[in-house]
């Protein structure tokens, strides 16, 4: 009789968590945000989301095949990159440029480093950073939300032919804009015109912004869904938002005329989206508990500093990319306390001590 006894190494049971399940849940959590974006911006937003997602998944497949890795898309990570990328782009962004962003996100942001798990930077933000530099005009062309006819026709720039410059939108915006639309984001208006938007505008999605950045409550609810199910480290958004608010409060108290109140910093731009869905990217954030707090606090503080003192109106993207770059270092500097080792407080965490090198 041939024995077909199975031999495996302990543990023989598993919690049942899997990369596929984590990633799939993130996709599910992003869908309401995408749906809200389509409600606001209509066909153009839908086309943008579909374009980046398909480009990312196709690029993932291509590079996996080139690298000889199992060409599975079933891990959903490329889809997440695609969805997130679309959410960070302006609604009127030309589709061909979005496709470039999607390709670059996967190619430079992920495949170059060795694929899933090995990427240093958040791939979606790498794609976004690339098009920010490559297409500075298109990435700052804003349109009003809830304009009439958004479900029947595209914004003219959306269907720009590949490699062509998009047409000027000011005449189209003039026809569709509701009163008070200025064509600038609240951050830019504060920075260059010293005007502070109403909190209500942010909550209802009326504020001019990228596709998925307009509703902080919705993003927080979706993030909470993931955190409760254990697929998202709640410490990161708490640290990012907390440190950003704190620093903004310090500035505001020091000079209320010049610096906006903390709630404006919290709600404007992509801070909430970045804190909940991008800073929390597992592969590019630290693993040690203290490292996670420091990483989040750093991103929040950097965001405020870049917004207030940098040449750009938006700082979240670069803050997160810098945080990503520092994540491995933070892991090294903040090893967990080994069971039975003396408690040394914070200082102990920062002491590098390869005690007995052979």
């Amino acid at each position: 009789m041939t024995s077909r006894i199975e031999l495996r190494a302990a543990p023989h049971v598993s919690k049942g968590a899997s990369v596929e399940r984590i990633m799939f849940n993130v996709v599910v959590a992003l869908l309401p945000i995408c749906a809200f974006a389509v409600v606001q911006y209509g066909l153009s937003a839908l086309a943008l989301i579909v374009t980046t997602t398909l480009t990312c998944m196709a690029s993932e497949r291509l590079f996996n095949r080139l690298a000889g890795r199992p060409a599975a898309l079933s891990d959903w990570s490329a889809a997440i990159t695609g969805l997130l990328l679309a959410l960070t782009l302006p609604p009127a962004f030309p589709l061909w440029m979005a496709a470039v962003a999607g390709f670059v996100a996967i190619a430079l942001g992920k495949a170059l480093f060795g694929g899933i798990g090995y990427n240093v930077f958040n791939p979606a933000l790498v794609g976004r950073a690339f098009v920010q530099a490559a297409f500075p005009a298109a990435i700052t062309t804003w349109v009003p939300a809830y304009y009439d006819g958004r479900f029947t026709a595209f914004i003219p720039t959306t269907l720009t032919a590949p490699l062509m410059t998009p047409p000027n939108l000011s005449e189209w915006v003039g026809r569709h804009a509701v009163d008070g639309f200025t064509g600038a984001t609240p951050m830019a208006r504060w920075k260059f015109e010293n005007q502070i938007a109403e909190v209500g505008d942010f909550l209802s999605g009326m504020a001019t912004a990228s596709v998925g950045e307009t509703s902080a409550p919705l993003i927080l609810i979706c993030g909470l869904f993931l955190a409760v199910r254990g697929f998202l480290d709640w410490r990161i958004p708490v640290a990012v938002l907390g440190s950003a608010m704190l620093l903004a409060l310090v500035f505001h108290l020091a000079d209320p005329g010049r610096y906006p109140p903390p709630v404006f910093v919290l709600l404007s731009g992509g801070l909430v989206l970045g804190a909940v869905f991008m800073a929390t990217d597992m592969a590019t954030s630290p693993v040690t508990p203290l490292g996670v707090w420091l990483y989040g606090a750093l991103i929040g503080a950097l965001t405020v500093v870049i917004r207030y003192f940098g040449g750009l109106t938006e700082g979240v993207m670069y803050a997160i990319l810098i945080g990503n770059a520092l994540a491995p270092l933070l892991d090294q500097l903040t090893p967990p306390r080994v069971f039975g080792q003396a408690r040394g407080g914070l200082r102990d965490h920062f002491r590098r001590k390869p005690e007995t090198r052979p």
Partner: protein, 447 residues
């Protein structure tokens, strides 16, 4: 749970909550019949293998020593049944290699009474004589460690012991043998605890039980002596609470420093199964010839806890427990978190086997499903490692074969292979196995 775990501090930090699946906890321990042939490896304990006292063809009676201890870190082996020694030869072991074993053909018509025993007045014995008696009984840590009991209870005078901790956690899923022993033999357990306290000079004993075994806690409380030296403490159920260092932390809020033993903080930890058997065997002057084994797993006809004679082949045990097709299953000795999968059903039940678990082959994991992903640095392993290590980093170093760095910079030596990291890993990286291999390589390098 993850949100609020910091609020509860009457346990150790981190750890996991696997499904308990202790379906056999409700039924009394039954007795397994004697197999017709038994195999007794000479090395069933940590330390020097025993030396045979018998030759092929010799008749033995149940309870008779058939191999003697070889030095201090060694224990004798007793005949589990009346019979005749068939051979002393190499037989397959649970870990794989064939090992020197005594093969006993059992007299099936025998009544199998224990006729080899010398009851003694234990009160009259000095601690040294008591330890000697414990060694003669062949007792080892029955929780699975198989460290000779008398050696564990021989504490150097430089380390005074204040507390004996009695480990009734049984935190591994499926296993219920300790649970049943606590329920059914609490009086024997108290005798064993008293003996161990005398041997180590401890003035108090604390029995630690997880809160999924409250009936066992109640049964033991009913048997507690009036002087209050022995107490029962209920701790929240969490894996790996049954690990010595974790239980000491949970009960006394003391952490054993890295590289140190419980005795360095004035504590000795013993398993309830070990002490119950000690309380039965020592007054009767008998040797260890049987133990309680949990036989469980999906699709078993008669799962439950059984008194199994040591030396009974797996095949016989599983046959009686109603597993007709054991050849096509995964057989695990011990619990599912730390247990050992066996390659041969001819492997016998030895002193350290607390459970025999039978798992179905897992087709969903056999081909594409078992795909291992690269580490996505989710940090879950860091959040569950009870020793405060960074398994994610250790795993990456293992993949690059940087074993020296694993040991020197990332405290690999502190890993006791509880399996929490691999249990939670969404990438299905066999972290625990990598660490086991790395530790082996480092041990060999150290010579």
């Amino acid at each position: 749970m993850t949100f609020l775990s910091f609020l509860r501090n009457n346990s150790f930090a981190r750890g996991v909550h696997p499904d308990a699946r202790k379906s056999t906890a409700g039924s009394p321990i039954r007795r397994m019949p004697f197999a017709s042939r038994m195999t007794l490896p000479l090395a069933q304990h940590i330390g020097t293998p025993a030396v045979p006292l018998v030759r092929a063809g010799e008749e033995v009676v149940r309870g008779q020593p058939i191999a003697r201890a070889d030095g201090h870190l060694s224990v004798p082996i007793h005949a589990p049944a009346d019979g005749v020694i068939e051979a002393i030869e190499l037989k397959p072991s649970a870990r794989g290699p064939w090992v020197e074993s005594i093969v006993l053909r059992v007299y099936e018509a025998s009544t199998q009474e224990i006729r080899w025993a010398e009851p003694r007045d234990l009160e009259a014995l000095s601690p040294a004589e008591l330890l000697r008696a414990i060694q003669d009984s062949g007792m080892v840590g029955l929780g699975g460690a198989t460290f000779p009991s008398h050696a564990k209870l021989s504490v150097p005078e430089s380390h005074p012991i204040h507390t004996l901790i009695v480990n009734g956690c049984e935190c591994e899923p499926y296993l219920t043998c300790d649970h049943r022993l606590m329920l059914e033999y609490p009086a024997d357990l108290m005798v064993g605890i008293r003996l161990a306290m005398r041997a180590i000079g401890a003035s108090r004993a604390i029995i630690g039980v997880e809160d999924n075994k409250l009936d066992a806690a109640a049964a033991m409380r009913a048997q507690l002596p009036a002087d209050g030296d022995i107490t029962v403490r209920v701790v929240p159920t969490k894996y790996p609470q049954g690990a010595e260092k974790m239980l000491i932390k949970a009960l006394l809020d003391v952490e054993v420093p890295p590289g140190k033993l419980p005795m360095h903080v004035g504590v000795v930890v013993n398993n309830v199964g070990t002490l119950t058997q000690l309380g039965q065997l020592l007054p009767a002057g008998q040797g260890l010839t049987e133990r309680v084994v949990t036989v469980a797993g999906p699709g078993i006809g008669k799962p439950g806890d059984y008194w199994v004679p040591i030396g009974t082949p797996m095949r016989t045990v599983l046959g009686w427990a109603g597993v007709p097709d054991a050849d096509a299953r995964e057989i695990v000795l011990g619990g599912p978190m730390m247990g050992l999968a066996v390659a041969s059903l001819d492997v016998p039940v030895t002193k350290g086997v607390s459970g025999i678990l039978v798992f179905d082959p897992r087709p969903e994991e056999s081909a594409a499903g078992r795909r291992e992903y690269p580490c996505i640095k989710c940090g879950e392993c860091v959040r569950v490692c009870p020793m405060g290590l960074n398994p994610s980093m250790l795993g990456m170093l293992a993949a690059h074969r940087e074993y020296d760095r694993m040991g020197a910079e990332f405290h690999l030596g502190e890993c006791f292979e509880c399996g929490c990291c691999a249990y939670v890993c969404p990438s299905r990286i066999p972290l625990t196995q990598q660490f086991r291999a790395a530790k082996g390589i480092l041990r060999r390098r150290a010579g």
